[in-house]
Amino acid sequence: MKPVQPTMSTCETCPAHAQLAQMGIDLRKYDRVVALAGNPNTGKSTVFNALTGLKQHTGNWPGKTVTRAEGGFAWAGIRYKLVDLPGTYSLLSASQDEEIARNFLLFGQPDCTIVVVDATALERNLNLVLQVLEITDKAVVCVNLMDEARRKGLEVDVRSLSRDLGVPAVPTVARTGEGLGDLIRAVTEVINGEVRTSPRRPPAPPEVRDAVEELLQLADGLELSLPSARWVAYRLLEGDHRVRQALLSGELAQLVTAQAAPSRRASRKIALEGAQ
């Protein structure tokens, strides 16, 4: 473990503040699981490397990370496992990288998900953010590449973004480390409930609303009260094989018990074994 001083925000100089300790691949013990999602080429791997001290290959082209990378870091005495998911534009198609990402978000039950977005192409990136927010309540949006946005003359109002999405949004420049301290702080606040999130889930389009409502009621009958219930209904209406199978095998029901359990041991087990 080595402390990293110069890269964090100005808060870093404040002596009372916690410090980041990169833990590399030392994952024997950790207290929380944090997932890292985002569009391709938004600097996800750079955020991952900055936090864990690992040297996951980064490159300026979409699709560098096609597998799941894992690393660790510690903050204020709590150890986090960070899972770098493949960069995807959506969680809707059947390509392997998208499946890896969305299966981890759904079944891995991370304590918090950081969605890295490109500040210079916010609109396109928000599509994925909204999809992630359908699956989980616990998310933080990392508005990365702020330097490029400034160069392009774009001003991103992070407060407005945060208000509209219902989860914290933190501006960062991962390459220089700017804002990463604030990012981790937001993650910890979301995890321990200091910040209550109310993710924006746009109402289902009128043409399909009845079908979705009906399925949601059926799911209620099965006592499947997941934050992702509506998203599961969407997937069932699209004939998603993996989700169908999870419903039949009782895997979804297990997720409900795991979420209700205070220890969250089951979800950690799933995350640890990398069940997909």
């Binding site: 040297k55 096609v66 389009p205 399909v208 699209e238």
Partner: protein, 468 residues
Amino acid sequence: MSDRVHTLTPQDVLVRADALQRKLGGRFRDKIVESLYDEAERIARRAVHTRTDRHWDLDQRIDRLVTSPIFGMPLMLLILAVIFWVTITGANYPSELLATGLFWFEARAVELFNAWGIPWWVTGFLWHGVYRGLAWVISVMLPPMAIFFPMFTILEDLGYLPRVAFNLDWLFKKAGAHGKQALTMAMGFGCNAAGVIATRTIDSPRERLIAILTNNFVPCNGRFPTLIMLATIFVAAAFPPAFASLAAAGAVVAVVLLGALFTLLVSWGLSRTILKGEASAFTLELPPYRRPSVMRILYTSLIDRTLFVLWRAIIVAIPAGAVIWILANISVGGASLAQHTADFLNPLGVAIGLDGVILLAYVIAIPANEIVVPTILMMYLGTGMMIELEGFEQIRALLVDQHGWTLLTAVNLMLFSLLHNPCGTTIWTIWKETRSRKWTLVGALMPLGIGFLVTFLTATAVRAFGWI
């Protein structure tokens, strides 16, 4: 009512979901996607403000040139040629220096062992076998890699690779393959196994298989040193010194282009026969140009790539060196095992313009293509007299004067190097990615068959016209 709810099973939910799905039809997904896009647009409009049009978009201007229908392709070829030219001219001297140093060390070590009275076969096995294999691999491979990889990584970090994919998209579309295949090919330049893994970004299983099966036609860095060496020794020698390195770079570019041509032809063939289908549409993001970070370039290209590949080559070279020495030093009926095997393979080798030793080297090098040339040299040296090779001039003398290599041998060896079975690691990766014995077999044997066919045709044509 509550009775009905409690007897509800997941199966019931699925049945209902299926019925609803049929009713909604294909519209469902479009509606959901539409509502997401609308929402994203609304939120983004509120959050993003553009400050006056102070900014002058350099990126777009560069892109207009780099992806232009007229200049795009020539520029790409020019960049490729410059990279090879720098690699070839730059690697020559350090390669010689390394070879001289490492073989000097071998000679001193052998003297020392002899002075200590250690049996000849121990000395031979350790120094002429294991160590020599190692020395060849390091001196032939290290300098070109240490020059080629940083340059390639700079292009990667700049954001040039997706532009290449953009330029080549129409070709892949015509071949019935996915445009992202160009990106997986670019990964294949580094390592074909990595290229095969990179195909995971292709959604369509059909197009992904095509990308996997043809990735081998991109010469990986394990094969580049072979190509560069042959281009330097044979092609460059046919030109006046002033143009020698340019000609060598041109030859390597030609081989790469040929590889691309075969990729397209085979993709085209596959998508019209066993993998029928049309190319699917996709969006390709052209990322902004970014200034590469020096430290990261050095780390990625030298540690992640150069040392990683070199290490793999060394691990394979050690047992290969041992095997070669044993084959060359165990005699049955007056000739060594290496001689017997090479003689056995010779008719086939000659038919495709090569010889038995070269084919044997390819068999020994199945675990890693990197060691083909070192293996050939060691076998020639092991069965002939023991001379010390210092630099390309002596290598040329050995190959041409003692073993009758011609320009045909060199050209066909370059062709065969481009078009033969993938290395063991790549074959293993194909199996892991496809989980299919059939496709793994196709991935291994199809290129090999093409390699034999093409070299046989060139050899036959050259001989028929009496050019050699």
